[in-house]
Every structure is written in C-alpha cells, then in structure tokens.
Symmetry: C2
Subunit: 291 residues, 2 copies
Amino acid sequence: MHRDNWDDLRFVLAVAEHGSLAAAARALGVNHATVLRRIAAFEQSHGLTLFERSPAGYRIPPERLKVIEAAREVAAAVDAVSRTLRGAGAAPAGRVRVTSTDSLCVAVLPEILAEISSEMPELRLDLVAANERLDLARLSAEIAVRPAMSLPDDLSGEIGAELGFAVYAQRVQGERCRQWLGLGGTLARTPLADWLAGQAEPERIAGGADSFVVLAGMAAAGLGRAVLPCPLGESDARLVRLAAPQPELRVPIWVACHAELADVPRLATLRRRILRGLARRAAYLACGVRA
Amino acid sequence: MHRDNWDDLRFVLAVAEHGSLAAAARALGVNHATVLRRIAAFEQSHGLTLFERSPAGYRIPPERLKVIEAAREVAAAVDAVSRTLRGAGAAPAGRVRVTSTDSLCVAVLPEILAEISSEMPELRLDLVAANERLDLARLSAEIAVRPAMSLPDDLSGEIGAELGFAVYAQRVQGERCRQWLGLGGTLARTPLADWLAGQAEPERIAGGADSFVVLAGMAAAGLGRAVLPCPLGESDARLVRLAAPQPELRVPIWVACHAELADVPRLATLRRRILRGLARRAAYLACGVRA
DNA sequence: CCTTCCCTGTGAAATCATGCACAGGGACAA
DNA sequence: TTGTCCCTGTGCATGATTTCACAGGGAAGG
C-alpha cells in the first residue's frame, strides 16, 4: 500500500494547478501518459480518488482542497531546501539568532537581550519566534530557548528556570466571565491541553488560538479566561490572575544549541548570559512574582 | 541541471539521519546502490556535494545542516498531506477559525471578535496566527484577515481598512535611543524592509525579529527603535511614537475566504462583522488614533 | 452536419532505475 | 599478521517507467 513516493505529490500539485493531465504534462515537460499513471498510482496507494475526471480535464472537489493545500506546503518546503542549498553561506559574524516560543519572545527575552545588548553592543541579536515545528526549524537560529520536558538528542543545553502557568481573565469582568478559551494548533497536543480539558466543559469554550500571546490578547478583550504562562499573564495590565499557578504544570526552560555548535565561544558566552538572565527571573517565570 | 525530483529528498534525509548509505538503504527497504545513485543525482542536479564521504559512512558537514533541516520540513509537510488525506473530515459546525498576522491577532482582532462573540455566543471563534506561508496555509482557517496589496486568485474578499506603520521606541529612552531593530524572516522581503534600509545604516541595527509583536517587545525593552503597525505600537504603554505614520507605507487589510466557501451564510455573516469592526477602527489602524 | 481542437485513456517499444553480485578498503580484534 | 565486518563504489541483467503513437469522445464554430 505505501509505495510512498514524494515525487508523486509534484504531479498531483501540477494537475491540481493546471486543471488537466495534458496541461500539467506540458508544464512538467513530460508525457501526459506519465502524469496519468503517477496520479493513478498516488490515488491507488492512498486508496481514494483525489480528482474528478471529466472529458474537460481533472478537477479537485472542494472537500479535497485541503490535500492540495498540504501539497503546496510541501512545495514551499522543497523551495526552502533549494534556497538553503543556493545561499549555503554561513551566518554573518557578529549576528546571533535566538529562537523561542512567542510567549517568551514577547514577555521575557526582550528584557534579557536588552541587558546583554548593552554589555555586548557590537552584537546583533535577532529573535525568531516559532511555536510549531520547533524541533525542525531549529536551525534557523543558533540558540534555542525552549520550554520542554526534555531536549532532542542533537541539541546540547541546560535548564535556566521553570515556566509556570495560571488562569487569567480580563480585569474588569474578572471572575464573572465563565467562558473559557481553548488551545489550538500545536498547543492542543500538550499536557496543558489535557489539564484544560478537565477544567472547562467543551460547550463553555468561546474561542481559542494557537499561540499564548494571542490567547492573552483574547482574554484581555473579554472573550474568556485562558491558561497562560505566568510571565505573559503578569505582563499585561488588562489581565488578572484567577488562581495560583498550578505546580503540576511547570515546565523546564532549556537554553540550547546544536551539539555541533556548542563550542563556539561567542555562542557559549551568550548561552551563559541568557541562562543567568532566566535564573535571575526564576520566581517571575514560575509564579509571576517580580523579584 | 534541474531534474528536480522531490523523492530524492527522502533519500537525502534518510542518509543524513542514519549516517551511511547502507543504514539508510536498510531503513528505506531498498538496495544501497539505489541510495548511492539517488544521492549522487541530487548532488549533481544541484551542483554541489552535500555529504562528506568516508569509509565509515556519509556525514553532513555542519554548514550543510540547514539543508537537512529544510528537508525535515518537507517530511513534515508530506506527513501533513497524509494526515489530511486520512482524516478528510470537515471542520466542526459552530466553530470558525480566523487567521491573520500575529500583529492583528494581538492588537485588533481580539476586540473585534469579543464584540462578535457577545452577539453570537453560540459560535466558537479560533484565531490562528500565521505570518509565513500565509497564502499556503490558508486552509487551516475559514476566514483570513490579511494586510496585503492584493489578494491571491483563489481567495475572495474585501478591504476593511488600511494599516499604517510608524517608528516606535521605549518611552523612557525615547529619542536618545539611536539603535534600530531590523526585520527578519518573511518580513525582510516586504516594502517596509526596503524603507527601513533607507533609514537605518546596517551598523546601527542592534537586533531584529521575524514578528512585529516580538519587535514591539524588543523596542519596549530598550533594544532599539522599530517600525511597527500603528495599532500594535499604540497598544503598548511602554512605547512612544517617534514620528507620524508614513503614508506611503499604508497597506490595505483584506477580509477574505476561499472562493469556494464565499457563499456559506455563517461565514458571510462573520466576514461582514469583521469588516465592520475594522472599518469602525479605521483611524486607529491607519494612524493609531482612537476614535 | 462536419471539422477541428483539446481532452482522457491504452498498447507496444525504448529508456531508465533498480537489485544483485562482487571488488576494494578501512577498522578492529584475535 | 590474519580474519571478520561494515562500509563505499561498479558492471550487468532485469524489471518498472516513460515515451510514443493512436483510439475515442465531448465542445465549439462554421
């Protein structure tokens, strides 16, 4: 069944975009019979019919559009490989990119980087916010600051502090607001989401988002109460905390870089300083209490 | 040169992950000679050597790691196709996902959605923040709110307001801060980035980020001055605007959905309400002035 | 009505990729 | 040193893919 050939997707996409076997074949520079057979192979190996055949050409029914969108993602990713391959240049000296979740990029890291920047003014510090595919995209940065229970094998790093979570809501509505905000996207597959499922009945969920920063904005606008990382909830004056942080939800914050890059002196210095910055804010990160 | 076979990436990835032709071949269930030739074909078609050959196996030099990471992205995207193909289910009723840039997801849309939610309490409104690949990932949401000069063909929508940009910096440092913050990632390929390049000499750039929300946080922490969407800059009390919004940088904000979904009544209603919400805040969006 | 054009679909020949078997070489242990 | 093991790399037979050429059918236009 799974003959699993990524190249078939290229043909699927071409047919979807050109509307017919023949047009796709012209665009791809191959014979139309080839396209016919590759599409047939793809459909058979996945056990479904993707296209509507008609004498006028191949059409994708609307309910199959998502597959095409997903295939477009693949195309974009392949393009990215090409671009990476082309501009295989090393990162410019004097410039370090730090990646983290958007919460930390907004709530804590700017402060820490500002301290570091004043001590090392020659350095250019870029922040790369990436919630999803963190483990995959990690090479778009030299240093990663990641809340996680453990670190992937090829990363080398240390724990700087722990991140705590609590429930927040709009200050003026406060306790009266009985609606909840749910976790979407990649956040939906975290222990936090399980915990939340135990707190809020599904019919009480008025909305959701795939990012804590957005959730904080929604909670502040009065859409409902949300579980947020403490430093994020505390940093927004429009929000009020409804309960103490849940100790069972604490997550270590790792400061890491690729094992291969662990010895670069500049990166090692920066890692140490970020670690120190996190450690100095440990209480704030875990409980939202400013030292 | 461009023989362009996506399937070769599968072999590249397998060799990178297993460390040798032979191990990759075992994992893929093919002969090692096949792997050898596919790798060779890939390298030749891209005109470079990706792996370091040694008697002990194939190794990727650290500077080539990015290519592998990009290939992993492709793998993830292919997985997504499979998952989409498997669970070809429709979105649950009574739940609408709205996607936009992180700036608007944080600064304006929560307010608008809160108004809508109070009028249509049975609806669950999810916000999906997506800066990059917006045009590709658009099917992860039903409605898109997008600042852009024009709309892709397969989207149908209207302009709700215009988004203005201005330079902001930390209130306490204010004008004294002579450092700038640059635009990274996808933001680096926008007209805004060109404009910024005309304002700030490269050596004055102390940092950067791929998201305006993160840039706002960095500017507020005193890392430098940043160009920000007006509603985002105005919503942060720690920031002060250094100059009037640049009229030439204004961008229309589209409220759109897939052409195929344009007629769904529930979505049409929601689109209208979002449009109204944007129009009512036109001055705030364009100049940062609260009506 | 017929003609033309563009589409899908199919069978046979040619091309290309794959698997197999084997050569060569480094690493490691006896 | 010798033997073993695992690795890369290469010729050749085989089998799968692709191309080519052609059949059939709907749509548009005279």
